[in-house]
């Protein structure tokens, strides 16, 4: 979105409030919802991509070393990846410092 939502005027909206900027949901950073983060034990990862498939946010990507990691800008900390991982290599760790 070119402008934050609370600054858009009614004239700037498209007819029918259609959103024509594709992929602008990436501007909505859901990582702030997270109270726990997924931590991966790289050595145990079997690269099955289950976490990638199950993540409701679609925020898991392949890291340089070949294992899979969540993008913490968007990860809500739901823990589904940890629950679904067949190798049990993902642990949810509290965000509390």
């Amino acid at each position: 979105m070119a402008k934050p939502m609370d600054q858009i005027t009614w004239q700037e909206l498209q007819v029918g409030a259609v959103v024509v900027e594709i992929g602008n949901s990436t501007q909505y950073e859901t990582g702030s919802w997270r109270s726990e983060r997924p931590v991966v034990e790289k050595e145990k990862c079997i690269k099955c991509m289950f976490c990638w498939l199950y993540c409701p946010e679609g925020c898991i990507h392949e890291a340089a070393e070949g294992h899979f990691e969540a993008d913490l800008t968007y990860c809500k900390g739901c823990g589904i990846c940890a629950a679904e991982c067949p190798a049990k290599c993902i642990t949810m760790i509290s965000e509390e410092k």
């Binding site: 005027t9 009614w10 909206l13 007819v15 029918g16 409030a17 259609v18 959103v19 024509v20």
Partner: protein, 392 residues
């Protein structure tokens, strides 16, 4: 189809018009409350005379949902319903307008339950008065046929992009056989350009429709919608003017009959207008200075044209065909009172509600409404409304 004058049931003439308009998608619930409109369309499509998708759905809610989907990809879309059907449709009916999806509905106005009724009045359309559809009222078969084309032209105008409901009185018009002049297919093609929808759904240029709206943006979205409805007005008039140039049949948002020197007027919406004109002719012959004001465009409400038509008259006798329970009068009278509030030269308004659930309103009844209404107006008895013909 070539230009021809036919004796035809109005519902059939509508279906023929929809076919001549070369629609792409028709979605309708085929069972009560329904008319011959979609029944005949299903025949036209099944016989291969119209290349369209005919979707017989499981409910009116689904019918309107199909219409939204079809309009969203830029297909010319038509549906038709009545009363309880419209009620079931209402959730998606509002969404169609909010998402600015062009489509045309022939709304055969009928009463809402209960008591269970299948007959005519305006309670169904008044239920969705505030949805943001363009609402046109017609008085006879010819006007219905003509306005199907005008409605598509208005609806799909890039400056409008709104669904349009052509309101015709259930049974009184839908089941009437009368002469209708069909226009030539070439004329229709000239009048109705191909529908090209901006921001239509397409994999090559994706968009999001009907998004979540936080309080930060909802107000702006509603103003955008309000201005869309309001700004459609000149384009509606233009669509009618163009039709008038091509066919010689002219339509205006507010139409008047023998009002120039009239001291008072009867105000109608829908097929009432014709009987009212007939009675006004008779009263004129007796020396009464009375005229008829007919509201053709109900939404967006033609405020300026209405005021210009009636300011300076002494009284208006407004005949409604629906009740606003616990309100101050029928929906039309309430609108008109508000339009004239504190205006110089504003006539007083006497309101009758008549013809509920198809109760016949004859010439004799119109005569009583006009003469009795005038007496009430002169006596200053202008509050609320009177249910005409009520026993007890």
């Amino acid at each position: 189809m070539g230009k021809v004058r036919k004796g035809v049931e109005v519902s059939i003439a509508i279906a023929d018009a929809v076919a001549q308009a070369d629609v792409d998608v028709i979605a309708a619930y085929p069972i009560t409350p329904q008319t011959h409109i979609v029944e005949h369309l299903s025949e036209i499509v099944a016989d291969g005379e119209l290349d369209a998708e005919y979707v017989p759905v499981d409910s009116e809610h689904s019918a309107m949902s199909v219409c939204c989907g079809s309009a969203a990809v830029g297909a010319r879309t038509f549906t038709s319903t009545s009363s309880q059907g419209l009620a079931l449709m209402s959730e998606i009916f509002f969404i169609a307008a909010a998402m600015r999806l062009p489509m045309v509905m022939a709304l055969a106005n009928r009463s809402l339950s209960s008591p269970l009724s299948i007959w005519n009045d305006h309670s169904d359309v008044m239920m969705v008065r505030d949805a943001g559809w363009i609402c046109i009222f017609v008085e006879n078969g010819q006007e219905t046929y003509d306005n199907i084309f005008c409605a598509f032209r208005m609806s799909e105008d890039p400056e409008v992009m709104l669904p349009v409901a052509v309101n015709l009185d259930g049974f009184i018009l839908t089941h009437m056989i009368e002469p209708v002049e069909y226009e030539d297919d070439d004329l229709i093609r000239r009048y109705l350009p191909e529908f090209k929808m901006k921001n239509a759904l397409h994999p090559d240029h994706p968009v999001s429709m009907g998004c979540f709206g936080m309080p930060e943006i909802y107000t702006e979205a509603q103003m955008n919608r309000e201005m869309g409805v309001r700004n459609s007005y000149p384009h509606i008039v233009k669509a009618w003017e163009e039709w008038g140039r091509l066919t010689g049949r002219h339509y205006r948002p507010v139409e008047t009959y023998r009002t120039d020197d009239a001291e008072y007027c009867i105000v109608t919406m829908g097929s009432y207008g014709e009987t009212a004109m007939e009675v006004v002719d008779a009263l004129r012959a007796e020396g009464e200075k009375v005229g008829v004001v007919k509201i053709r465009l109900w939404r967006p409400f033609p405020l300026d044209e209405f005021r210009a038509a009636v300011l300076g008259k002494k009284h208006l006798i407004v005949v409604d065909r629906a009740i606003t329970f616990g309100g101050q009068g029928g929906p039309v009278a309430t609108e008109l009172r508000s339009a004239l509030y504190k205006r110089d030269g504003a006539p007083t308004i006497v309101n009758y509600v008549a013809g509920l659930a198809g109760r016949d309103v004859s010439r004799k009844d119109f005569r009583s409404i006009i003469t009795e209404g005038r007496k009430k107006a002169e006596a200053g008895d202008t509050e609320g409304f009177t249910l005409y013909g009520l026993r007890g």
